[in-house]
Subunit: 350 residues, 4 copies
């Protein structure tokens, strides 16, 4: 039986923090699915909303249930739902696209201009239940553990970036090994990267990078890092850059590490404008620079499932914490401290 109310972690007003409140269980339309949430993942975006930074102040309209990474079980289905059944174990794409624009009709729904993101623009997943359009739902293979399924969204970001960058038999530099950067390491190796180098300022993250398969790691503040990467890549520079920090200095240095004719995929989001020597960094080098956003629906999801099921992507070292839902404040403190890589929370056990 679906209850009438549920717990939800919410931004209740324009101030710091979240509140765990009792709210009505969402209603579903004819094409929607109601999902009983089991596990959720915490994203840097959630932390920004928690801290109520400038970006959050401009984008989020409280009150709003937060969270977009989750997995759970189908609890109810609308009348026009075709495939999903009550009891199905599922996760979901958190970008709800319009379905009728040029981009949606040409296989580019992940960059639909009318996209709404759950937990940002509309009520999210840090709750006992969430309503989702059936077309966003992803049925889970039984081989995939709950905690991994809960973070298919950021894992999908890593997969989308890696696959767009064409890493097969290539040398790859990753600038920024937060949780998505860390995920990108085994993903790149599984996708055929010949070598993976990680650059960051956090020694703990660099140590984790090695444990998930980086060939070598570099402190971004080391003045020789560009020269060392170039030296390790046949004297010409890396074939591929995966930029996952959003830091202006990392973008500049990362582009300098790529060889002429190389490929740079930018996923990290700079908080401000970036001052760039376009002539030296991109034009003369004949680089291909790719802006990466979200996950391809659903090409990225199939690839993610394939990579996980191949056994070549192991998230255990990256999911550093698995906390009960009630300890959300501890979780956000761990996020801020930089101690955690990826945190998941258990919302329900049934």
């Amino acid at each position: 039986m679906i209850p009438r109310t549920m717990r939800a972690l919410r931004k209740i007003d324009a101030s710091h923090g979240f509140a765990l409140q009792e709210v009505p269980v969402p209603e579903i339309g004819p094409s929607d699915v109601l999902i009983r949430v089991r596990k959720v993942g915490i994203c840097g975006t959630d932390a920004q909303i928690y801290q109520w930074n400038h970006w959050a102040q401009r984008r989020v309209k409280p009150p709003m249930t937060i969270g977009h990474e989750f997995m759970g079980e189908v609890a109810a289905t609308g009348a026009a739902v075709k495939m999903a059944r009550v009891g199905d174990r599922v996760c979901a794409e958190g970008h709800i696209s319009c379905g009728v624009c040029f981009l949606c009709r040409t296989g580019e729904a992940h960059i639909c201009e009318h996209v709404k993101i759950i937990g940002v623009d509309t009520n999210g997943s840090f709750a006992d239940y969430i309503a989702m359009p059936e077309s966003n739902v992803w049925p889970l293979d039984p081989a995939i553990p709950d905690a991994w399924a809960a973070v298919f969204d950021p894992l999908g970001n890593a997969v989308h970036t890696v696959m767009a960058a064409h890493v097969s038999a290539k040398s790859v530099v990753i600038t920024g090994v937060g949780s998505i950067g860390l995920m990108a390491i085994p993903v790149a190796r599984a996708a055929g990267a010949a070598s993976v180098y990680a650059v960051d300022v956090n020694p703990a993250k660099l140590a984790l990078a090695v444990s998930v398969g980086a060939d070598a790691t570099f402190d971004a503040r080391d003045p020789n890092v560009i020269a060392e990467i170039v030296q390790r890549t046949g004297g010409v520079g890396a074939d591929v850059l995966l930029e996952m920090s959003g830091a202006a200095s990392a973008i500049d240095a990362g582009l300098a590490m790529v060889r002429n004719g190389g490929r740079a995929a930018l996923l990290g989001i700079p908080s401000d404008d970036v001052n760039l020597n376009l002539a030296e960094r991109i034009i003369f080098k004949g680089l291909t620079v790719l802006g990466i956003n979200g996950r391809k629906m659903f090409e990225t999801w199939y690839q993610t499932e394939t990579l996980v099921k191949s056994g070549r992507v192991d998230l255990r070292p990256i999911i550093t914490h698995d906390l009960p839902f009630e300890r959300f404040a501890d979780a956000f403190n761990l996020m801020r401290s930089g101690e955690a890589a990826k945190i998941v929370m258990e919302v329900s056990t049934t």
Copy 2:
């Protein structure tokens, strides 16, 4: 008979201007070809060396014969030359690549890191004779007029940019219609662009843009230009940007005019760093940004020949001046005034 000395337009010291001097005819190595120069084109780069701006001061080591756009006739061949014969009508790729590096051996010689550019790094084409490696020589189809052949180098820049941008059945915006931007208009149309919009600040160039096939032109200073381009392209923005100005404001506005998932090819070279909202202009949009340098050897040359021979690219409106070699000072004054689009000079008539 090849004389012992010849005229050459030279940068003789670190000051403004050029001097027309009598110098020895260059010697050729076993794999080289000596070319009697008939017609040359003047590039913005030549004008920068003439004016001795900061870039020129850093790059060029006087004394040096200037010029890289030219056509002429083979006058002598080295012992190991395979195909070229005395009397052949030819032009040549002006980027001399090393031939043995990773990029040269993988079909990317145009971005070889050891490239030398004639007229910049080594003696150039504004002279009665020039020595070139046979592998840089391009035999000219009889259907191609001398003046057009003399500007195959910048026309090749336009072709490389257009072909890299994939314009077939697409809407295209060109920011900056100097001579290469103007050439890109008929090239884009011939290559299948469904519509071509030109943006610049120079009304005379915009008028020329219409005469060579632009569907509409816009003053870059018009605050509504982004909105108008978006409105003319189905409300989503242009499929493709060809950036040919190098101006920071044009790069920013140009990227704003491209639709999500679109493609931007950057050929124009900014003189300084560019301050860019990477998040909004590239990352969230999922853009593909291509740095463009030189011409693909020799894919671009074949494409250029094909496009010219198809009759769909007419350079007559763009080659606004054809002056005798001796009037080089007038030519550079015309360049500076912005009156000219493309200037060619006749070095010899035989």
Copy 3:
């Protein structure tokens, strides 16, 4: 007011011909649209069903309303329809895909294995009304004439083939200039083909090919045709083959006309197995051979609209007949005689 019954051209049993019958107007589901049909196009497939050949006997289960090319006006909409409104002028994609398989979820719905084709697997468009899922409906730009809109399906086949073949600045051979092959000529030119050569056995079709833009045409039975195409394409062969005949001899000769490293797009459907020298025709040459099916949903549709609206694709010479619906028997006789290129029929004038 929507009547209860309507006229429909039907295959009523396993024999030659069609019957015009009065049948119930189709009912629509919540996500469907009912369309009042105005104009239809006749496809070779319809003629095969008319003649009841082997393919038709295996595939079609009478009784069935025939036809898949059409345009008309929205007459009613289901409760869950989002965008379509009564009175909208529309045509529609005739391949109804399942929407939930791997191919449908990765932008390849045109090759969904569960596809149903209207007029073949389910009731079709040669009737006063047809029901279609809203997601198959294509809103028509007012600039597109009714007769052209009625043949967007085969025009889309031509566009899909041409765009997959990458014709920009390339030489193109088309083998087989039935109606789709003829459409492919202006489409290829508009998409940037540098030259287009047509090969067929029907002199009238070859004459039409010239009138819609072919550079030269060849009788397929001429023993010198391969040599002539090679000679006209720089001695190496055409860059691209568009195979639109389905004839084994044309496939073999067409592949022989393509240069090493070229691209061949196969749309024509051979009625039997084809005996092919794979080593000489494909493997040693390093060809890329593309099987083409249907139209990409809806990338091809956007491209088709763009090409038609650019004014560079003129269907008037190709639509050779526009007959009233009642004269369907004459239409199928014209089809069989080879006199007609494309025939459209007017089902209603309102």
Copy 4:
């Protein structure tokens, strides 16, 4: 000191077998390199010439020194040689392309129409010395063992096929696991294949396939093999086919195993025409079929080096025999028996 004569394994007339003869050491031109051969590999092509089958009778003009797979040391260099030095450890691309045709000038020298293959069209590598154009020479990384270097040519075939097929995160079927098919297994895994299935009729080769990384193997004569592959690949079929048998039945079955929209790379060379249901196997499925020939110069060579140096490609199980040069007759008998996978021979130890 280079001697005046040397041993060479030669086809001396139009009959079965080879003869080991004393012949003059080849002379080198100004751009050539003389290489002291250390190790050679035996290819199926060599065995065909040995057996003097129909293909060999048509193509090879005795007397001719045989062999195209080899490695050794530079013994002398022509006057115009730029990089190679006496003593360099090298192998070489055995396809000598013309260097001046359209394909050679556009990065497609591997499919140059004027190509000469050493050991087939011109004297080969089964000798103490061989002369090669410097531009064909590949300097060997010290990390690569002699026996592996000797088979870089067929390993390059495997790499070219795998890289053209885009295997990253894909399911891959290989039909035919002779030596190149076997090499393709670890290459595909290293390049990112998510799963690799091998199909052959030889149980010993299938056992080797497992030992080098195949997920599962299938007897090609098993009537359920297509169904099993489809079942293991999500019910849709494999993403990629690598056809390395040249057998008509394997080509047909292999294409049937590929999913709609998949990619098939054909390397195996059928001895006769192949009867193919193009409609069902290629056209309706929307397949991309790639003819594969040789190795890309030198993109494939760099990739091969990268893959070997990454440690993810181990040739030890595949090089089943390493014999002294004098035992060539034993080697060709082993080839014919099907006992051997790859055989190398040691020509000299210095």
